[in-house]
Amino acid sequence: MTKYVGKNIPRLDGYDKATGRGLYTTDVNLPHMLHAAVLRSPYAHAKVVSIDVSEAEKMDGVVAIATRDNTPRTYFNVTASMILTVPPAKPVLDQQIFPDVVRYIGDEVAAVAAETLEIAKEAIKKIKVVYEELPAVYDVEEAMKDGAPQVQPDFSPGNNLCGGVIKIRQGDVDAAWDEGEVYAEHTMYLPRVKQAQLETHGAVASYNPDGNLKVYSTTQTPYPCKVIIATVFGMPSSYVRVKNPPHVGGGFGVRIGISAKAELIASALSIIAKRPVKYIYSREEDFLASDTRHGGLIKCRLAAKKDGTFVALDAKACMNTGAYATFGPDLVAVLGACGIAGIYGIPNIRYDGHAIYTNQQTAGAFRGYGTPQGTIATEMCVDSIAKQLGMDALELRLKNTTRVGADWWFPYPVKSTYLNECLEQCAESIGWKEKRGKKQTGTIRRGVGIACGTHVSNAAPFCVDYDAAYMRIESDGTLHVASSIPEIGPGVTTGLLQIAAETVGVPLETSRLAYGDTDVGPFDIGSHASRTLYAVGHLFVKIGKELKKQILEWAAKFLYVDVETLDLVDGEIIGSCEKSRLCIKPMPLGELAYEAHLRGKQFLVHGCEVPPNSPPWHAHAAEVEVDMETGMVKVLKVAAAHDVGVAINPVLVEGQIEGAVAMGVGYAIREEMTYEEGKGFYNDSYHKYMLPTMDEMPEIDTIIVDAFDPAGPYGAKGIGECGLVPTAPAIISAVEDAIGIRFYEMPMTPGRVLKKIKEVYGDDLENL
């Protein structure tokens, strides 16, 4: 029996957040602090010929102006891939704080720090920049053609390819292809979508002329953020401290590394001004000058036997990574691995992934990290095979899913999968048997669809992925844990403390986790890849056991008893009645710890490890209603079934699933970044970006299937991103079930849907 693991402990930062007491980066105000604004390129591709700051400099209240002329020219990558790329692969370092050639509308040209934000904003208008416009390219297919304008000639082997072609190979697709008896082949066109986290990117940097730089930041990876800053400015890493304040208003992948360029620009200005500088992205800047999800196209084909057995899967992804690499090459790898190669046991798999440079803003990590895109492509072919065979789409999936011990492409084993349980339970919840394939007529048509997928519980071994932490017992017997992980919202800092207190054997109420600060904890890769609870939890189990052992060994000597007779339970040293004199009266850990303290001993452990990896599994079933006259798709219900292993804190797990489902619904039917040549992306505000709101949310049936993973901490697996993965393909499948039209382009907005309805059913909607 566990005391904390598996329990719905209310999140420990709840009080801070519900009362408004808790600090976010936007709330940080330091003495003598300046405010920053940034001048951005109005051109999609242009050479910066000259920058004249003289008029701006004269303005009252302007303290520092940063341009390419007085800041480091170091090449970097804003993402953690800069320092986490596994050799022999090399990170693509193609960014500079202020580049000589601007490559998208919004690229950084100069920044001003002034006494007020208003002055800083006025000052950037007075900076005179001479640009020499260059030919630009926006579309992936155009960019890959010979003779296309080259976005990054110094970092691309040609045809705007970023970071080389990512290849995944299993078996021999060409040789096996003819073994197929039925074939599916389609191309899926995917939109860019935006994380749109509630707190925009921001940083407050405080440079001290003694060489120390302290940065409050919205990063979801404090330690990698610190290393990137130190590298860019050529400073000793030990002199740079990155701290979440500690709260971060969401992440969803958009700040793995630094928060767009917030930390670097605030730091550059602070170094010049020698005063603290606060730079908070406006909502417009956040929308238009930070990573989006990758859009692009995926060609996918699947060969199967007549009995439904999958024989070979062949896919090629060409994803629009924008003006700079950020996570492009890494992400197309995960797209292929988890989205294409992972879900089904298919002996022959071939995948070629291309991240393609264009003159648009960058695309990078966004919850799911390529897996949602790949899954949409795979599931489109699976549904097509089911249709051709006249086979139930659920049955076809149940037959082909990856099994425990599968001979799969990944470098770690499948130790557990409850994917078929997920499929069955979500199908049951949606009423699959009664509803699927029922012919619909009339204006409002209903349908149900299903999709499934997998992901990761961390990024190892695909990137350098490890955690380090300290644990100690204070002299009053309370547990203190220190890690530099951030809390970006999921509640991992609560779940992790549940694991630590459980393992050590102390009350949660007196245990504390210090986090989100590189001066508090040692290296930690941070919060992403659905990893934090799984990977850091794995480390906490390991060092928690060591701490407990250390306590009991010292207690045994102190009490003159055999260590085997002792245990630490709920903060008390208890003895076995057979041998120990502690049989009657347990000794509070506080008493022991104080005795130890008086003798110069603190119970203290540290640890550092690369986590194992366990694929999580998930299946969603969706029910939709399509209005044949308006083209409006309404999602009525999503049944979301997840194999997360053991849920350490079920309410927090549900929260992850439900939030990701909402994003998946937006991805499927509403959200889209629309590019207007010469102007840039249209979507510069919440008003122009159609996020799901409370009144439009479908019913969500959140199902955590009974599962256990042998490698995960207390049997747990990752969950953070998973709810997004199968949502959109399940909705696409449901729309097809409702109106007989499969969409190979997203999102399924009323305009797009109505156009297809007219194509298929003709103009005469009266006769539907």
Binding site: Q195, E658, I700
Partner: protein
């Protein structure tokens, strides 16, 4: 040019000379250091800056500061009494309605205004009334549940 502003914030009378072009949210956050009220968009589109003015939920990010003249303002900081959480705050925490927390103060203030006006809202009313608040983390399900639970508790407290 500064103007004299007299207003009451969380029960405290405030008298200041302010730049009248300022938005109310900046006055609250920068002048009074009440940073619990958040800025998500500064365009009146996300609801994170919601406060209660004279009993009504308003978006402080698009509200000119002088509109606060002689008004009674309640911000998130004024909801908890001597360390005891308001039932709405408590239910948000217990029910998992908080994740990153950035939309939370606005949601809680919006909920307070809603329940003051309508102590027994239906699910549909909750969804409709709070649809001006954007949350990107929760999918809204647990927020809706927390609002309904808080309503129930507040009704019970009233009955007692």
């Amino acid at each position: 040019m500064k103007e004299r502003l007299v207003t009451t914030v969380n029960g405290r009378r405030i008298e200041r000379y302010v730049d009248p072009s300022m938005r109310l949210v900046d006055f609250l956050r920068d002048e009074l250091l009440l940073t619990g009220t958040k800025i998500g968009c500064k365009q009146g589109e996300c609801g994170a800056c919601t406060i209660i003015m004279n009993g009504t939920a308003v978006l402080s990010c698009i509200m000119p500061v002088m509109k606060a003249m002689d008004a009674e303002i309640l911000t998130i900081e004024g909801l908890e009494k001597d360390g005891t959480l308001h039932p709405i705050q408590d239910e948000f925490i217990k029910g998992g309605a908080i994740q990153c927390g950035f939309c939370t103060p606005g949601f809680i203030m919006g909920t307070k205004a809603l329940l003051d006006e309508n102590p027994s809202p239906t699910s549909e009313e909750v969804r409709e009334e709070l649809s001006g608040h954007i949350c990107r983390c929760t999918g809204y399900k647990k927020i809706e549940e927390a609002v309904l639970k808080a309503a129930e508790r507040l009704r019970e407290e009233k009955d007692d």
